[in-house]
């Protein structure tokens, strides 16, 4: 019996054979880059999660928690990847007090399924993340991936009110509660957000829910130059107007976006008019608020001498909003060897792409840039063709972007990249003075380094 088969057999002893996957075909879906686990386990309850983690800790195994696996390739390769702990079977709503606007939901529940339940009560959780149709609640939180509604609702940090999870010793722990205001004990659940599964296996998350807005709309304003577009963005963000998102993108991004939206042509989608630099704004609320926002954006666009302006009514706004939300996903599949860097900078940064790249175009690759109103920038490099000299040039550019993006209080990290790029770059950006504290926090949660060893900042 091989080591892998032996491990699978022993895991079957822990959780039962129906909960363990061990064939290569099944395990392919759990690959991180080209590395497969020896087994995948799908526990049916948090007690089984505890059993698996205790077993892994005793056997010094590496466990990678996952949900729908849409963001499994984020971060570095695990130093040990023995078991994929698939939490998709934990998919119930444990508690929903619609009158209190609070929710307790299993980590493996899909966001789309959750949204349907909440929408029936005219509520939602503002996790507008890429891969929305398949993402689980837990994966969306633990990946730290940006929500398109961050400008208005903040990150999960602002509406996650509690969590239950299994720590590295295999015990179920909790933090926070199910009320909207609570300062009892340490806010441990905040540490789990964006931790890439390196601290614990999250089994349940408690959220504050929000009322669905009565109506929504959006607008697309086109500019001939980056400077004019950035100045307009600056004006809108400084206006105090309640935008749900303000997304600025360059011409290359715009043409890729048009291509992505082209699949909707049969449904009546007309190509975007903008081209050049475009600013997408969205707003939601009562009818009167949306009316006012429309007129504000239209008037301000006219005053800014925009090259083009389009008010996006319901369906068209929804299509464009969805496509922008999903941009991480379609960009990474837009070509072989795509690299996506996420940069966090001042909200009012006036620099365009030159901040990150001295030469934003190359014969070997194209760059596409999306700048969110919250100050985060997604910069994608799309290789024209993969060859040795192209790779070298690409690597130099990625390193330059990471170096530029990690200056001062700015941070830059690789959201997506092929293995050969990750192997030669610092995926999470530079280590800072608080890294020692992070190592200690990791040790407190996971003393045996069971969870995703080596995948996170500084190889934690």
């Amino acid at each position: 019996m091989t080591i892998a088969a032996n491990l699978a057999a022993r895991l079957e002893g822990v959780v039962g054979s129906s909960r363990v996957l061990a064939s290569e075909a099944e395990l392919l879906g759990y690959a991180i880059e080209d590395c497969l686990p020896a087994a995948a386990v799908r526990p049916s309850c948090s007690e089984e999660v505890c059993e698996v983690v205790r077993f892994a800790a005793a056997e010094k195994l590496g466990v990678v928690c996952c949900g729908s696996r849409s963001k499994l390739q984020m971060g570095m390769q695990a130093q040990r990847y023995d078991v994929a702990l698939d939490l998709c079977a934990l998919a119930q709503i444990a508690h929903y007090d619609e009158a209190d606007l609070t929710l307790s939901v299993d980590a493996g529940m899909r966001l789309e399924a959750l949204s349907k339940v909440l929408a029936a009560k005219r509520q939602f959780v503002p996790l507008a993340v890429p891969c929305l149709a398949t993402s689980t609640v837990g994966g969306s939180v633990v990946s730290g991936i940006d929500s398109m509604l961050r400008l208005q609702y903040g990150t999960a940090r602002d509406f996650l009110v509690g969590a239950e999870f299994v720590d590295g010793t295999g015990r179920t722990c909790k933090s926070g509660g199910r009320v909207v205001k609570n300062v009892t004990g340490y806010d441990i659940h905040k540490l789990l957000i964006g931790s890439l599964g390196t601290l614990a296996a999250i089994t349940r998350l408690n959220f504050r829910t929000f009322p669905l807005p009565e109506t929504s709309a959006g607008a697309l304003t086109g500019f001939s130059s980056a400077e004019a577009a950035l100045a307009f963005r600056r004006e809108l963000l400084g206006s105090g107007l309640p935008f749900s998102c303000v997304e600025l993108f360059d011409g290359q991004f715009s043409s890729l976006l048009d291509g992505e939206l082209g699949r909707l042509k049969d449904l009546g989608f007309a190509p975007l008019k903008a081209g050049g630099w475009s600013l997408y704004t969205a707003f939601a609320g009562e009818e009167a608020v949306v009316r006012r926002m429309k007129s504000e954006v239209e008037n301000r666009s006219a005053r800014a001498a925009a090259k083009s302006f389009e008010m996006l009514e319901e369906q068209r706004n929804e299509w464009l909003g969805d496509a922008l939300r999903e941009s991480f996903d379609w960009l990474r599949h837009a070509a072989r060897g795509v690299v996506i860097v996420r940069i966090s900078q001042k909200q009012f940064a006036t620099q365009g792409p030159k901040l990150f790249l001295s030469n934003p175009s190359s014969s070997g690759w194209r760059s596409a840039l999306l700048m969110s109103g919250s100050g985060t920038v997604m910069l994608a490099l799309l290789p024209e063709e993969e060859n040795e000299s192209g790779r070298e040039e690409m690597l130099c550019s990625v390193r330059e972007i990471l170096a530029q993006g990690n200056t001062g209080e700015n941070t830059a990290k690789l959201l997506h990249a092929p293995a050969w790029v990750k192997a030669h770059c610092n995926v999470w950006g530079d280590l800072r003075g608080d890294f020692l504290l992070m190592q200690r926090v990791k040790a407190a949660f996971d003393p045996a380094r069971v969870f995703s060893p080596g995948r996170f900042v500084g190889g934690i």
């Binding site: 209190d100 940090r157 199910r178 300062v183 009892t184 441990i188 609320g285 800072r432 949660f445």
Partner: protein, 477 residues
């Protein structure tokens, strides 16, 4: 306390920055709670380096350290439960930087909460967390306790408005966590530190978010003849998906006391009032105010009036924020509780508080953040009467237990401190405490910072080891 430590502290900071006489120390043995704990020496650092040097000295003499702001806390968080060095941040009170365009301010911990707003209001900005003590409490204390206030309903607690911290760790190392954008890479240490009640590190610099003032603010006062009608109104406002900027409830008895003292314009003959505020775009604020008006009237409000102007609004808020001062006229002491319940349970919770108070022989006032289910029952008592004091403590515990039984929590904004650490076992298991203790030890392995807080110190599950620095915890005053 070793006199050599006091001598060295004076040499380090100058005699004007060190207090060690009994009379001086007595001023620092209280905060706004009913707890008590006297430090052995009080020091006033001026810089982060001062703080690091004080920590080194305290370590050498193996005495615990407690950070303190203005001492307005309500859970004993800034009391020296095990004696030792009290580090008062009152003289680290400078606003270091204002980045108005990016809505950020960098401040020292001793800056008074309201001073941040005063420094930026000319630019149409303000600092959103607004505890009732905002005229005197410091931002460092707000960070330690993760303070709230009436307007946290829409804008969140202190943690939602802090993006970076500079820390002095118990080994005197200076570390920065978070960044200006609130988007640093790695674990959210800033999120962990805010609300850790000074048990993990001493905070010496804070980067806060500034919020843009709304286009329109409307303040409404709804008057009810039955408490149940007022609490049902709150539940309905919440269930209808309306999120006011603030939604405060004051019961009729408390109102009369406030009105007699402050003349804020509250009715003297009502059962309860709701003080509600909506803000945002003109269109949004007006439609929300109209919807709230309708809900109030449907729930039998006898009057709903809107503040006529800023002066009228300020007067109503003055009444709310100075309510505790007004209550102070009725009894030698008052015990302000802090519990949280799901908002849908508000009518039931208020009835239960009334029952508990009646059976304990106390008239309990209620002034609280109804919109987020954060109750603040106020028990008036005489601490000189030991039986009455013990009864007040037991009544408080009963009310907090009731909050937990309704699915709520121990504290919404005052913190656990040494007021509720023994009640933590109502919510947390051995495994929870074990993880919390490991996190505590990752920062503060010897319990030299603020020992005897948050964790239960009595026998039972979750007992935390008391480190080499701390004396045996004092019992309640």
């Amino acid at each position: 306390m070793d006199p050599a430590l006091i001598h060295e502290l004076k040499a380090l900071l100058g005699p004007a920055n060190v207090l060690s006489t009994r009379e001086d120390l007595m001023l620092y043995e209280f905060d706004g709670s009913v707890e008590k704990g006297r430090p052995d020496v009080v020091v006033f650092p001026h810089t982060t380096e001062d703080v690091a040097r004080i920590v080194k000295l305290a370590n050498r003499f193996a005495v615990p350290i407690v950070g303190r702001g203005a001492g307005t806390g309500l859970s004993g968080g800034a009391l020296a439960r095990g004696g030792g060095v009290m580090l008062v941040f009152a003289r680290m009170n400078r606003i270091l930087e204002l980045d108005l365009e990016n809505c950020r301010a960098v401040v020292q911990p001793g800056v008074v909460n309201l001073e941040i707003t005063r420094a930026v209001e000319h630019a149409g900005l303000y600092f959103a967390p607004d505890p009732s003590s905002q005229k005197s409490c410091t931002i460092g204390g707000n960070v330690a306790e993760n303070s709230g206030g009436p307007h946290t309903l829409a804008s969140g607690l202190t943690t939602n408005h802090v993006t970076a911290l500079e820390l002095v760790l118990p080994d005197a190392e200076i570390v920065r966590v978070g960044n200006r954008h609130g988007d640093s890479t790695g674990y959210d240490l800033c999120g962990l530190l805010v609300g850790s009640e000074g048990t993990l590190a001493l905070v010496t610099e804070i980067t806060v978010k500034l919020t843009r003032k709304a286009e329109l603010v409307k303040t409404l006062l709804a008057v009810f003849d039955a408490v149940g009608d007022a609490s049902r109104t709150v539940a309905e406002i919440t269930a209808r998906g309306i999120t006011p900027a603030a939604c405060e409830m004051l019961d009729g008895w408390t109102l009369a006391v406030i009105e007699n003292y402050l003349r804020a314009g509250f009715p003297r003959d009502s059962a309860a009032v709701l003080l509600l505020e909506v803000e945002g775009l003109r269109e949004a604020a007006e439609s929300q105010a109209a919807a709230i008006d309708e809900i109030c009237r449907a729930n039998h409000a006898r009057e709903v009036r809107t503040a006529r102007d800023a002066q009228d609004r300020d007067l109503l808020w003055k009444g709310r924020k100075n309510a505790l001062g007004a209550m102070g006229r009725l009894a030698p002491s008052n015990y302000v509780l802090d519990g949280v319940i799901p908002r849908s349970k508000l009518p039931e919770a208020l009835e239960r508080i009334h029952e508990i108070g009646t059976s304990a022989g106390f008239r309990i006032g209620n002034i609280f953040h109804a919109g987020d289910g954060n109750l603040h029952p106020i028990i008036l008592f005489d601490p000189r009467d030991k039986e009455q004091f013990a009864r007040a403590i037991a009544t408080a515990e009963q009310i907090i237990r009731m909050c937990v039984s309704l699915g709520g929590s121990l504290t919404g904004e005052h913190g656990v401190g040494m007021e509720k650490n023994e009640l933590m076992t109502l919510l947390f298991s051995d495994a929870d405490f074990d993880l919390m203790r490991r996190i505590h030890d990752a920062f503060n392995p010897d319990s030299s910072l603020n020992p005897g807080k948050i964790f239960p110190v009595s026998k039972g599950c979750g007992e935390i080891r008391v480190g080499r620095h701390s004396k045996t915890a004092e019992t309640r005053a």
